[in-house]
């Protein structure tokens, strides 16, 4: 079975400050990990994904995430946020051999001017 936990339902951050959105997963086999972003009143779009290789993954809009196998985490980071980053962010996992994604409950990122 695969599962993913996003402990922070809401994260407020001042504009131009750094941010980290946390994601932890559970699986008995190797996993693929994803971060999707949902801007207000839109569908989800892919930010970045980890499939194999380098544990530091760079995505769109200046976001990056680090896969940490020992801590079963895949936290999302950005060094300096902008108002346009206001959105809901979803972490997702797929265990090797499973053709479906399991999404976390999402973290709403609010940027404070």
């Amino acid at each position: 079975a695969q599962s993913v936990t996003q402990l922070d339902s809401q994260v407020p951050v001042f504009e131009e400050a750094p941010v980290e959105l946390r994601c932890n997963y559970s699986s008995s086999v190797s996993v693929y990990l994803f971060w999707y972003v949902q801007y207000p009143n839109q569908g989800l779009q892919l930010l970045l994904k980890y499939l194999s290789g380098s544990t530091l993954v760079k995505g769109i809009n200046g976001f990056e995430a680090e896969f940490n196998k020992s801590q079963t985490s895949f936290h999302l980071r950005k060094p300096s946020v902008h108002i346009s980053d206001t959105a809901e962010y979803f972490c997702a996992v797929s265990a090797l051999g499973n053709e479906k994604l399991t999404f976390g409950t999402g973290t709403r990122l609010t940027i404070i001017p």
Binding site: S9, Y32, N41, Q42, G43, L44, Q45, L46, K49, L51, F90, S94, N98, E99, K100, L101, F103, G104, T105, G106
Partner: protein, 113 residues
């Protein structure tokens, strides 16, 4: 290239009514998915399809039906609407493997009263 389109954008149903949510993609993707998004619950997979004529249940299929007669279209049918089906519904498509990016439509907001 419109990507994934969904109709309608909004709908209010009375208990017991039926309706079909339409989903069309123009990317020639084999895989298509239906998710529902409830506040604080993330996305749950309702049904998915790996090609025309092939569908399978996801995590929360009860109360829904699907068909896939063409590569482009993947309609979701609600036969007897219940208040528990009030949600935002997203259709998505991907070219194949779970490692491929899923492309989401803009969603249908359904309220059952």
């Amino acid at each position: 290239n419109a990507g994934v389109t969904q109709t309608p954008k909004f709908r209010i149903l009375k208990i017991g009514q039926s309706m079909t949510l339409q989903c069309t993609q123009d990317m020639n993707h084999n895989y298509m998915y239906w998710y529902r998004q409830d506040p604080g619950m993330g996305l749950k997979l309702i049904y998915y399809s790996v090609g025309a004529g092939i569908t399978d249940k996801g995590e929360v299929p009860n109360g829904y039906n699907v068909s896939r007669s063409t590569t482009e279209d993947f309609p979701l049918r609600l036969e007897l609407a219940a208040p528990s089906q009030t949600s935002v519904y997203f259709c998505a498509s991907s070219s194949g493997l779970v490692t491929d990016t899923q492309y989401f439509g803009p969603g249908t907001r359904l309220t059952v009263l």
